[in-house]
Symmetry: C2
Amino acid sequence: MRQFVICAHEATADSEFSLDDLPGEGGRMDLLCRAVGAALFTSHGIRDARVHLVIEDLTVQFDGATARNLNPDARSTAARVRDALDSRADAIGHQPATVSPGVKLYRTGLATTLDRLDGTLVQLHEDGTPLATVDPPANPVFVLSDHRDFTDEEATLLADRADQRLRVGPRAIHADHAVAVTHNWLDTDGYTDYEG
Amino acid sequence: MRQFVICAHEATADSEFSLDDLPGEGGRMDLLCRAVGAALFTSHGIRDARVHLVIEDLTVQFDGATARNLNPDARSTAARVRDALDSRADAIGHQPATVSPGVKLYRTGLATTLDRLDGTLVQLHEDGTPLATVDPPANPVFVLSDHRDFTDEEATLLADRADQRLRVGPRAIHADHAVAVTHNWLDTDGYTDYEG
């Protein structure tokens, strides 16, 4: 399975943002939700993929295999994120709250979220190894940042734990576009198979 | 320069859609605007690229080089599209209306819009040649569809005119993700240069 961990830096665990102002009040929630959509959706279907959206010490998990009534537009995804953040009282210890089918809230930040995930931990980073020169791992867990760089604390954590550090291209691109590029790299088995 | 022509099929030239319901009232305006964003934006900058969003017999043109105050979220892009559709009375013959810096409205549909564009016309299509097996052209004009297939009329037009027919991968993906993949293919000079 493919998994994506997206680290938010401007969005807060306070769920009181307006769906009409995702970039401002939402702290670039538009970008985060586009990244969730890029991880989960194909043109007319949903991928067997998971996204872990880390906002401060909370993690909203989207599971493509069990999700229902998710839509690719940012506004509707943001509404799910808001519901998830609202349900934090129902998450106890390491037990998540189930927000809606396929959407859970964990009261865990980045370190504990990474502890929970199995697979090859891949940090997407502008100084990494070029994507096209590496064989795609079987169960990748991609970690990427929003519009800001990883914090020093996150960078140290990932330096310790990441199995691979990969670069998607020569230019810094938005998180949702980086997700689209990595999916395409996996879909084509490293740009070698376009038949599937 | 890179150009993207995006053919809308559910959106209408009637500009009376709510920004709160881009998928429904807007006729998948969310998807169209994400595709515009994917064509224009890098993480902290704007590309020297143009997007031509064809909605019925109107074309909204976004020019990255001259655009001002554009934002990557779909809602704000949709507001610009709505303004553009509203300004159709100011577009006369083949002279566009200038909606805001970098945004113009042409009273032309797909055929006449393609007549106006110089470059290598590339149709993104699921039966095309794999992207990774082709050298990127210098001035590509990518033509892609929204969530629906090209109409018979569009398909015939493109069969006549397209210089290349390329496939981005084995799975049908959203237009914005296809745009992200093609940008990455060009940014890396066909997956060979990750230094830029």
